[in-house]
């Protein structure tokens, strides 16, 4: 059991998300940076769960810290690991490294500060955060009010149940990720995409501009969508009249569509492309210029307000190869040393 002393800016229980909810309007939710949460779970000996979006297995639940800050007190001995954004964490005032498992003894306090690089930090605990499963996952969806701890962010005096230990504390402490695999969150973030289903609705110049621009993250970005500040994009002329009747005059409006999956880049009115994220609506109605590949949604989750993102277009085959490579890395026992 862990006791919350300070819940921070927005800390939620997350795993690798909920599958099968799209046709009900229920988003997948789960960690915005799935790679960081899965590594944190591996470091403390938990199941890491299946790949993001496909969600065959939600894995163990941990905490997602938005821009850092969290204070927890251990009510018994626990093995923890922090990954993702570096929050300069300390245990009773003594620094603990990122991407490395450590012991938090009964009565000790873990304090995470504000993230210095990257936007989200992840905390895993051996045994996993043991809140009830809702529709196959422990992921919190705040606006729907379900999953996680009572469907809401953590608050002072919450108690976080932890699943039963299956290994000795001494065997799990001090494990770290192979250093070459620790990601850098230094901007500009390179994010790979495949062409979107309505790329042909945009002018050739606008498609070129989309890939040439260093887009700044709008600070209103959240787990629903990341808005990007940059040049206005324009649409090809010749929109049919029946579409104007159906979906309005704005050329970015298309007839309702399954806007998912996570990663879709919509461009309402040609202004501020939005990367749909893990809590995004299951349908859309705006032209989609690109789709971020599953593997790189982890990087999108680490962009800080006003930091820059550059998109790089790759083929569908290369996107699948990137996912296969990531899954091979996660499955390789030698990445934890």
């Amino acid at each position: 059991m862990l006791k919350v002393i300070d819940g921070g800016l927005r800390t939620t229980v997350q795993d690798m998300g909920r599958r099968g909810g799209q046709a009900l309007g229920i988003p997948p939710s789960g960690a915005q940076d799935g790679f960081a949460l899965r590594i944190a779970n591996l470091l403390v000996g938990n199941p890491p769960g299946g790949p993001l979006v496909v969600r065959d297995d939600p894995g163990a639940a941990g905490l997602e810290l938005t821009l850092g800050r969290l204070k927890l007190k251990a009510l018994q001995d626990h093995v923890l690991a922090l990954t993702g954004a570096d929050t300069g964490a300390t245990v009773d005032g003594e620094a603990v490294p990122c991407w490395t498992s450590f012991v938090l003894r009964e009565g000790q306090t873990l304090a995470c500060g504000l993230a210095q690089s990257g936007a989200r930090a992840y905390l895993a605990v051996h045994g996993g955060i043991d809140v009830p499963l809702y529709r196959g996952s422990r992921a919190t969806h705040v606006s729907g009010g379900f999953g996680g701890l009572e469907g809401r962010p953590l608050a002072k005096d919450d108690r976080l149940p932890v699943g039963a230990a299956t290994a000795a504390v001494a065997d799990l402490a001090g494990r770290r990720l192979r250093p070459d695999l620790v990601p850098s969150y230094a901007p500009p973030m390179q994010v790979r995409t495949v062409a979107g289903p309505e790329e042909h609705h945009f002018t050739a110049d606008s498609v070129e501009a989309f890939y040439a621009t260093a887009w700044k993250l709008n600070p209103k970005a959240d787990r629903t969508g990341m808005r990007l500040i940059g040049p206005e994009l324009s649409f090809r002329p010749g929109r049919p009249h029946y579409l104007i009747e159906d979906a309005g005059k704005d050329p970015s409006n298309i007839v309702i569509d399954p806007g998912a999956p996570v990663g879709t880049v919509q461009v309402p009115s040609g202004v501020e492309p939005i990367v749909l994220c893990v809590d995004s609506p299951s349908i859309g109605g705006y032209a989609r210029i690109a789709v971020v590949i599953t593997t790189d949604m982890a990087r999108v989750g680490q962009v800080r307000p006003f930091e820059e993102t550059r998109f790089v277009r790759i083929s569908h085959e290369d996107a699948v190869a990137a996912l296969a490579a990531q899954e091979a890395t996660i499955a390789d026992p030698d990445i934890i040393i």
Binding site: G20, G21, A23, V54, R236, I254, I256
Partner: protein, 290 residues
């Protein structure tokens, strides 16, 4: 328009949209829902989930268990075997609603616009009474469920009674739960308190999204609406609204949901009879589906 052959659009590494056309219509939705049922009966290996919407079926697959090409081939074979959609399973759901309600008025006032039902009436050259009469005067076909948990899209099944109003130019930052609203020609209900731009005209006392899942209407999950449902609205007064609401909160309300089958081919024939075109075309358009 409805395409000669559905277009398979790639969305990243894990999803495909099967697009039957670029317009919204109930006949195009019959084909989407029939394909969704066929996929549920004969799912290809590696298919993770489906998301049927008005003109498009969303598919999510695991590219490490199958390939995009295999999913496309499987779906093409199902479409080829399908032919005309004769019937679909379709429930009929009666939704009681208090029209021109105080909560819709409160939302309008909070965002400095006039009572939305009066705007809807003016926009359609109707009286408020005619808005209510028209909205309760025919069934609404649910083309898909989604957006936020429990939300759905529906269209009037009688083209003569199809009406609506444009969305707000700037969406509200909040809307009460369970408010009936129009977004263009789409009629829907906000399941939970969320931002939104729909024109508000009534409130239902029944839950559209209920995490308690205590009524048999929520046996399959927290969402009342199901793609292919026929919704029928019933105008009620404040006293009945309050009585139903108390029963809903107590968990004793009996939701009025009837299982059934809908004669899709008969409906398409009826549309032809009344002179409703099966699809919309624009010969002057430069726009070609790619």
């Amino acid at each position: 328009m409805i395409y000669d052959e559905p277009i398979f659009r790639t969305l990243g590494d894990t999803a495909i949209n099967v697009e039957f056309g670029d317009e919204s219509s109930i006949p195009i939705n019959f084909r989407i829902l029939a394909l969704d049922f066929a996929l549920r009966e004969h799912p290809p290996k590696g298919l993770a989930e489906t998301n049927p919407q008005v003109r498009t079926l969303g598919l999510v697959f695991n590219p490490l268990a199958t390939t995009r090409a295999r999913i496309v081939d499987h779906v093409k074979a199902l479409i080829a075997a399908q032919g005309t959609v004769e019937t679909l399973p379709s429930r009929r759901v009666i939704i009681p609603a208090l029209y021109d309600d105080p909560w819709s008025r409160e939302c309008a006032e909070a965002f400095g616009v006039r009572n939305n039902i009066e705007y809807i009436a003016e926009f359609n050259d109707m009286t408020v009474a005619q808005v209510i009469e028209t909205h309760t005067g025919c069934d609404y076909w649910v083309t898909g469920v989604g957006f936020v948990p429990g939300a759905f899209m529906s269209y009037a099944m009688d083209p003569g009674k199809r009406f609506g109003a444009p969305l707000y130019r700037t969406p509200r930052t909040w809307t009460h739960a369970r408010l009936l609203n129009f977004g263009g020609l789409t009629s829907t209900i906000y399941p939970i308190r969320i931002p939104g731009g729909g024109q508000l005209f009534g409130r239902t006392p029944i839950e559209i999204f209920d995490l308690r899942e205590i009524s048999p209407a929520f046996a399959d999950g927290p969402v009342l609406a199901c793609a292919g449902d026929r919704h029928r609205y019933e105008s009620i007064g404040r006293e009945e609204y309050d009585a139903i609401r108390a029963d809903v909160e107590a968990g004793t309300y009996a939701y009025r949901v009837e299982d059934g089958t809908f004669d899709c081919a008969g409906y398409v024939a009826w549309l032809a009879e009344i002179g409703e075109p099966a699809e919309r075309l624009d010969p002057e358009s430069l726009w070609k589906p790619v």
